[in-house]
């Protein structure tokens, strides 16, 4: 997309170049946008990435297969459980491991709880970007903390869970886990209702978000955008439905889609997705069977990661992470280390269309458009 600088016949004008970030609170981390402005209007926007590059892929190629599991937590540090999930799926596909029934249910519960965490937090931070300074974020944090407490009780850490293993999960959930999840399921809709009363019909929010940062359907598909961003543009594409990974085909749930593809739709699709996640959780805690949580082969692999050697070949495991399609492409040469390890990070690919969405809007709009993409710099820069 191109934007023509408006020539004024009477006044001599020129474009102004501003560097937004990398140390700017609205960029959700260390992300920099080089913006060219015509007054307040954005003429050109060049994203600059790589400030948080930590060599994730090369590190993983130099350690055992399991060794990079704790590093995947640090990709998208808000939802570490889903990162573990995608990596475990990829390696299980490669090694042909079976996952016990109970572990599948635990995985789904964890993934959906993570989705609640991520979307709640995103909505809070989006409003922070809009200027509703910290009140919605703290309401979101309060609810998120209850879920993080569960993660801590089960996996040992609030955010860096490192809970999944190839062929299952590290350890069975605690005895009071299921009752606590039930309590969250009972309370969360109330919180969402309250959150929506606070926000969804708010005129200021509507004025700021509607018809801003429109992402047309065709562009979204062509750019490879995935997740709530794509669905807000009206494409009903959800990998849980398309790929049938894990046991998601047992759960009936709907895929909410937006119409306009603007910031408001992206916000609202996430609210609706949380309600669908609660439905999945309800069914999962009702049906969860007893049994082992890790297969015997997986347990041996977890006890001695050096001796875990998948056969030669390659595999691509993908899941519907809260931010979009998270995929791990792993190649094995039969040794104890991955030969190639690649991460398809959703927020990185969603970020590539930032310029197309921002052109012609004001600087303040660029901030909320960036917020609505839902990036986490740990995953963008890896």
């Amino acid at each position: 997309m191109e934007y023509e600088l408006k020539e004024s016949p009477t006044l001599d004008t020129q474009a102004l170049e501003v560097s937004l970030g990398p140390q700017h609170p609205s960029t959700h981390g260390v992300f920099r946008m080089n913006v060219k402005l015509d007054g307040e209007t954005i003429v050109q926007l060049k994203p600059v990435m790589g400030y948080l590059h930590r060599n994730h892929e090369k590190l993983a190629e130099n350690m055992s297969w399991l060794g990079s599991m704790p590093y995947t937590d640090r990709l998208d540090y808000i939802c570490s459980m889903t990162n573990n999930f995608a990596y475990a799926l990829a390696v299980e596909k490669l090694a042909g491991l079976e996952v016990p029934e109970r572990a599948q249910y635990v995985r789904v519960i964890m993934a959906e709880l993570t989705r609640l965490v991520n979307h709640t937090l995103l909505v809070g931070f989006l409003l922070n970007d809009l200027g509703a300074f910290f009140t919605p974020v703290l309401y979101a944090f309060r609810e998120r903390e209850k879920i993080l407490d569960l993660f801590e009780a089960v996996a040992g850490s609030r955010m860096m869970c490192n809970y999944f293993r190839f062929g299952g999960v590290k350890i069975d959930v605690t005895d009071d886990f299921i009752p606590q999840v039930k309590q969250i399921i009972r309370r969360y809709p109330k919180f969402l209702d309250e959150f929506e009363t606070l926000l969804s019909e708010n005129e200021i929010l509507m004025a700021r978000c509607q018809k801003v940062g429109i992402l047309p359907r065709e562009l979204a598909i062509n750019a490879g955008v995935s997740g709530p961003m794509l669905r807000a543009s009206g494409v009903p594409y959800d990998i849980r439905k398309v790929d049938h990974y894990s046991i998601y085909d047992r759960f009936p749930f709907r895929v909410p889609i937006g119409e306009a593809g603007d910031v408001y739709d992206r916000y609202y699709v996430r609210i609706l997705e949380m309600r669908e996640s609660i439905k999945i959780l309800e069914q999962a805690v009702r049906e969860i069977p007893a049994g082992p949580t890790i297969s015997p082969v997986g347990l041996t692999g977890a006890k001695s990661p050096r001796n875990f050697k998948p056969p030669k070949g390659d595999a691509y495991g993908r899941i519907e992470a809260p931010k979009g399609e998270l995929g791990f492409y792993v190649v094995s040469d039969g040794s104890a280390k991955p030969y190639r390890y690649h991460v398809r990070a959703p927020s990185f690919i969603n970020l590539t269309i930032l310029e197309d969405m921002c052109l012609g809007y004001k600087v303040a709009d660029a901030i909320i458009i960036l917020g609505s993409i839902d990036i986490v710099l740990g995953e963008v820069d890896r």
């Binding site: 060794g67 606070l198 200021i204 509507m206």
Partner: protein, 184 residues
């Protein structure tokens, strides 16, 4: 009516403000140094080494497995030798660099001798960044009673397992766990 949505939102904030004085659910602040949340049993922070009775006879046999499996390679182990230079089943140096350790808990999982565990201690402020955070064997040693106190469920399981092993070890034919060769 235009502006009604804003007013409804304001009512929500007002409700939160007022109810925060009355319900625990709306005011979740914990005044940290004075008040503390109960510790979760599986909570993990940096690892520590465990000894059974005396600090001298620690469970670690310096097999080097944790050092090899540690993803960020923060563990350094040097095997102890006796006067003749014969390798002994105990570490001479056991260092964990806490500035590198990322609390993943893999060392605990891979240890075949139940010698290293993740601690609950998290108040570990230091004034320096390098030598101060490199914890040596003496700093890492903690008793088995301490472990049983912070993680009763795991401690009971491990104790039962060890007792079973000991009963087997008394049998003359059962092989003792192999000692891996000293690492170069």
């Amino acid at each position: 009516m235009y502006g009604f949505g804003v007013i409804k939102g304001m009512l929500v904030t007002l409700k939160n403000f007022v109810l925060s004085y009355f319900t625990k659910e709306r005011l979740t602040t914990v005044q940290y140094p004075e008040e503390r949340l109960p510790e979760k049993e599986r909570f993990r922070n940096f690892p520590f080494l465990i000894y059974d009775d005396k600090p001298e006879d620690l469970r670690c046999v310096s097999c080097d497995i944790c050092a090899k499996e540690c993803p960020p390679k923060c563990i350094t182990i040097v095997r102890d030798t006796d006067a003749q230079g014969k390798p002994l089943k105990r570490p001479k140096v056991f260092d964990i660099d806490f500035s590198i350790c990322m609390n993943c808990g893999i060392c605990e999982e891979v240890c075949p001798f139940d010698a290293i565990f993740m601690d609950h201690e998290f108040e570990l402020g230091e004034y320096g960044r390098f030598e101060e955070l490199n914890y040596h064997k003496e700093d890492l040693l903690k008793s088995a009673e301490y472990f049983a106190q912070i993680r009763p469920t795991d401690a009971a399981l491990i104790e039962a397992k060890r007792r079973q092993k000991e009963a087997k070890g008394a049998h003359p034919t059962s092989p003792t766990p192999p000692i891996p060769p000293p690492s170069s």
